[in-house]
């Protein structure tokens, strides 16, 4: 099997958000919002864009410009859609995670503190 993609935390989160939101709804602010809401932590907007740009470089997502928004001063938005390679990468990532967590029982491990 071909060498799987290694994703950074933020790349994985952005890719998951894009997959979840679907092409219509996945533009910069929405992906940022999704990450913030699900992790409960603030994140740099520019970092999200950078992560999406890296994902696009690796053809895990593709982007397109929308028409200008129908509001005052509206601008065009960049939308992101997960490619089939992106979905494969997510599946691979999930398998790795599952394997990693196999046989781990966190209950009763009070000493370990908040590993985040």
């Amino acid at each position: 099997m071909e060498r799987h993609h290694i994703l950074s935390d933020l790349e994985l989160r952005a890719l998951l958000a894009a997959a979840r939101l679907g092409e219509e709804a996945s533009y910069g602010v929405a992906i940022h919002d999704d990450i913030v809401r699900r992790t409960g932590r603030g994140v740099s907007v520019a970092a999200v864009y950078a992560a999406l740009a890296r994902l696009e470089d690796r053809t895990l997502v593709r982007s397109s410009r929308s028409d200008p928004l129908p509001e005052r001063g509206g601008r065009s938005r960049r939308h992101f859609a997960v490619t089939p390679e992106g979905l494969l990468a997510l599946a691979e990532e999930q398998r790795i995670q599952d394997r990693l967590w196999e046989g781990i029982d966190l209950a009763g491990e009070g000493q370990t503190g908040g590993a985040g």
């Binding site: 950074s8 910069g28 602010v29 907007v45 520019a46 970092a47 950078a50 960049r78």
Partner: protein, 887 residues
């Protein structure tokens, strides 16, 4: 756009730093989110959010996270460090016991080191606070036996000043105590008599008026201190030119010294800071070449080092010896830097203290390292988990080191505060023994030092445990098994515990020696019975009581009046109390030698000088000095009676050997006195100096006016507390006018001042010793507990299989005993070597005193035994079946 957008300047700031590829998208999104928040929560909250977001964006830029390439995933990025730091804080808060115990340990170490470093820096290293203060020097005169000091004679100061080209000037300085009488209040103040160049030589500018000029010589003119000017002269700018009355004489004020000026000679001489300076009167020649009654201070010429003048000083010494053989033969003159002179004996004490805190810091590091190791062991599953989810070894190492650094920096911050408090306390409490204590304080360099020390210690105590914890077999750890690394960690912990013990032996041995030395010092017989004696220092104003008869009369009435106070058993006076340092010394020769010595000025110049004091009848009995033979002075020894003297045992032996001194005649300052009594020796200069020969005259017969101006009245009280200072002052006032009470104090308090330095050393040594003991007890206790806990299961099995409890105890003793023996043995050897540093400050005990060192080893062994006893008891009391079931 409407005013609902984010602040433009923040947007412009962001626009500057954001990567061009998505700059506009980011700004637009942020503006959109901002407007939403304004609508939801109001502009204030939205602004707060926007500011936080800008921070996040800047951080993302800083870490490279917001560039297309992304950050490299290494551990060197700011963001990782910050995240690790946050995590560290959370994990430390989660284990408060660990955090507090090892944190305090470290705070003590860091605060101690910083404080001592500040003291050493500010006392030993910094130049004195005068313009080009490093060029100030004192003249030192050394005799053939090596004895000598900063007290020199005025003619020699003048000759050296004239002869040495490398000196820009050399001034003579003599202490001067005076009575300041204004508005009916009389106060005794310190002053100094100096030569005209004194202030110019220091490079000072007067606050008001001027300093001395050469035409002020023999004029009653003074320069006053800034404190005197603001106090007694009410900061009057017109005070210059005014006449003030000192000692009953009028002096014209010519100038005011700058505020905060510390007279360097008074400081070196250990005399009170002057409130007034006048010019030395008379001529150098009249002052006498053998009379070492002045101090000196000079300034090296620009570009001249102190040792550049060594050759020249040797030549000058030879010339002075040739020109004045009677006084200067065998005397050599050299220069010493003013700072060195000022710091003097303290250098050694301070360096020893710095060493001691260094050792303390090392103990603290070993302790914390040990605790971190233990923590690493407890956290091995967490670390393995992090490793499993993708953290590299470097990343884990960075995390553990960051934790150590966060920990150390927090300890450092607390340490800085503690050190600041300690320095404030030292600065006010140590003026007695520590020169320049008044300048002590924390400055930015000390803060930097403390932080650097923290980071260094973090590296020390963090690195080894981190390497241990970060680089080990993951699978083994996840399984929870104890692999080879566990054994390594145990070995490391053993080494830490042993080194801790060794260092504790070193510190405690130092403390033991200082304690032993203090006990010897306080155990010395002083030669008098101080606890029941109250003293009042009374000045006889000779402008009121001018004739000797009048003085004799008022002193007799004074003694009588004081003797009549309730609870006073006897009263008598002496002009200078023992150990007060105010004694007058002169030659004392046998009458039969007088003629021969008159013909031999060289021999008479070399005669030793002995302290001479004048007392009133009954003094010896009052202070508890035994009259060994002959008699005390009596009322009959009046001004017209045959002149008599009492000698102490040491002087009797010096002058007359084993012959009976009673009835023999001695010559003192030209007067021939008959020895009528021999009294016991008193340690005149403090408990650390053997008693020296001394002679006593009786006040009514004493002809020297300077011996008659002060009377210390000693009052022997019964077991009751005796009269209050107020009652004493009242009794003096009732005697009549012209008597001024300077102070009332218990004699043992006065004598106790001589123990101030040893007592301070003892206090410091005790603090260090106690800390070392506590820290090592904590460390060793933890180690013993750990050692036993690790083998609990094994012990349980052995007990279950029929092992006797004493066999288990022996096994525990064996495993704890190994590192204890190693630590104590190493420490014992190290202490034998290191305590040699204490040589100069010990009294009556040798640094290599094996009893002291062995006692320390025994104490620490007991501490270890105590620390190991608790876990051992736990093992014996457990139910083997339960342990095995739990496993």
């Amino acid at each position: 756009m409407s005013g609902q957008g984010p602040p433009r300047w923040l947007e412009r700031l962001l626009a500057r730093v954001l990567p061009a590829s998505h700059r506009q998208d980011v700004l637009d999104d942020l503006a959109l989110l901002f407007r939403r928040r304004v609508a939801d929560a109001g502009r204030g909250r939205a602004l707060l959010w926007y500011l936080r977001q800008v921070g996040r964006e800047l951080m993302a830029v800083a870490t490279g996270e917001s560039t297309r390439e992304g950050h490299m995933g290494g551990w060197s990025t700011v963001k990782d460090v910050i995240r690790d730091g946050r995590f560290a804080v959370r994990s430390f808060l989660a284990t408060p016991a660990f955090t507090v115990s090892s944190g305090l340990t470290l705070v003590l170490g860091i605060a101690g080191t910083t404080t001592m470093f500040a003291v050493v820096d500010q006392v030993l290293l910094r130049p004195l606070p005068y313009p080009s203060g490093e060029r100030l020097v004192h003249l030192v005169q050394t005799g053939p036996t090596g004895g000598g000091g900063l007290a020199v004679s005025w003619p020699n100061v003048e000759d050296v000043a004239d002869a040495v080209d490398g000196l820009d000037g050399l001034s003579a300085w003599r202490g001067w105590g005076f009575l300041d009488q204004r508005d009916g209040v009389t106060e005794r103040l310190s002053g100094a008599s100096v030569t005209p160049s004194y202030f110019d030589l220091l490079g000072l500018e007067p606050a008001v008026g001027r300093f001395f000029a050469s035409d002020d010589v023999e004029q009653p003119r003074i320069v006053v201190s800034h404190a005197y000017w603001t106090g007694r002269l009410a900061s009057d700018p017109g005070a210059v030119g005014r006449t003030v009355s000192l000692d009953g004489y009028g002096y014209t004020v010519v100038g005011v010294a700058p505020p905060g000026f510390v007279d360097p000679v008074a400081a070196v001489a250990g005399l009170g800071q002057p409130d007034a300076w006048r010019l030395l009167s008379g001529t150098p020649t009249a002052s006498g070449r053998s009379n070492r009654n002045v101090w000196s201070i000079g300034r090296l010429a620009t570009g001249v080092g102190i040792h550049d003048l060594d050759e020249e000083m040797r030549a000058v010494s030879a010339r002075l010896a040739d020109a004045h053989p009677a006084e200067n033969d065998g005397q050599s003159f050299h220069l010493i830097g003013a700072r060195e002179a000022r710091v003097g004996d303290v250098r050694r004490t301070l360096l020893i203290l710095l060493g001691a805190v260094g050792v303390l810091l090392a103990i603290a590091c070993a302790n914390v390292a040990n605790l971190f190791l233990a923590r690493g062991t407890a956290r091995r599953r967490e670390l393995a988990l992090r490793s499993a989810v993708g953290a590299s070894r470097g990343r884990l190492l960075a995390q553990l080191l960051t934790e150590a650094a966060v920990f150390a920096l927090a300890a450092g911050a607390v340490g800085i505060v503690a050190s600041w408090i300690a320095l404030r306390a030292l600065s006010s409490a140590s003026a007695v023994w520590l020169p320049r204590a008044e300048t002590l304080g924390l400055d930015p360099r000390m803060v930097a030092f403390a932080l650097l020390t923290s980071l260094l210690t973090a590296a020390l105590f963090g690195l080894v445990p981190a390497l241990r914890s970060a680089g080990t077999d993951l699978a083994a750890r996840l399984r929870g098994s104890r692999g080879g690394t566990e054994r390594d960690a145990t070995r490391l912990r053993t080494i830490f515990a042993a080194s801790q013990l060794a260092l504790a032996v070193v510190l405690l041995s130092g403390m033991g020696l200082v304690l032993e030395s203090f006990l010897r010092l306080t155990g010395e017989e002083l030669g008098l019975d101080a606890p029941q004696v109250l003293t009042a220092e009374v000045i006889v104003d000779r402008t009121v009581h001018q004739s000797r008869e009048a003085q004799n009369d008022v002193v007799a009435r004074l003694i009588e009046g004081m003797g009549g106070l309730p609870a006073v058993r006897s009263a008598a006076g002496i002009n200078a109390l023992p150990m007060s340092g105010r004694v007058d010394a002169t030659n004392v020769i046998r009458a039969e030698d007088e003629a021969a010595l008159n013909d031999d000025p060289e021999a008479s110049a070399r005669l030793p000088r002995f302290p001479v004091r004048t007392v009133t009848p009954g003094y010896f009995g009052t202070v508890g000095m035994p009259v060994i033979s002959g008699r005390d002075f009596a009322v009959g020894d009046g001004a017209d009676a045959p002149p008599v003297a009492v000698v102490n045992r040491a002087l009797a032996r010096h002058l007359f050997g084993d012959d009976d001194p009673l009835g023999r005649r001695v010559v003192v300052r030209g007067a021939t006195l008959e020895v009528v009594g021999v009294v016991g020796d008193v340690r005149q200069f403090g408990p650390h100096r053997a008693p020296e020969p001394a002679l006593y005259t009786v006040y009514d017969q004493e002809a020297q006016s300077w011996m008659r101006g002060t009377m210390n009245v000693a009052l022997r009280v019964g077991s009751e507390s005796g009269p209050t200072p107020g009652a004493v002052r009242e009794a003096v006032a009732n005697t009549g006018p012209g008597l001024i009470v300077v102070s009332v104090a218990r004699l043992d308090t006065l004598l106790g001042r001589h123990l101030a330095v040893p007592r301070f050393r003892l206090a410091l040594a005790t603090i260090f010793g106690a800390l070392a003991l506590i820290l090592s007890a904590v460390g060793v206790g933890a180690m013993a507990g750990y050692t036993v806990a690790r083998r609990t299961r094994e012990y349980a099995v052995r007990l279950a299989c029929g092992a006797r409890p004493d066999q288990v105890v022996r096994s525990i003793a064996g495993s704890v005993g190994a590192f204890t023996l190693a630590g104590l043995g190493t420490g014992f050897a190290a202490a034998l070597v290191s305590s040699r540093l204490l040589t100069g400050i010990l009294y009556g005990v040798s640094p290599g005193d094996v009893r002291v060192h062995l006692a320390v080893v025994a104490v620490l062994a007991a501490v270890v035994a105590g620390a190991a006893a608790a876990p051992a008891r736990r093992v014996l009391s457990i139910d083997p079946a339960r342990v095995l079931r739990d496993e």
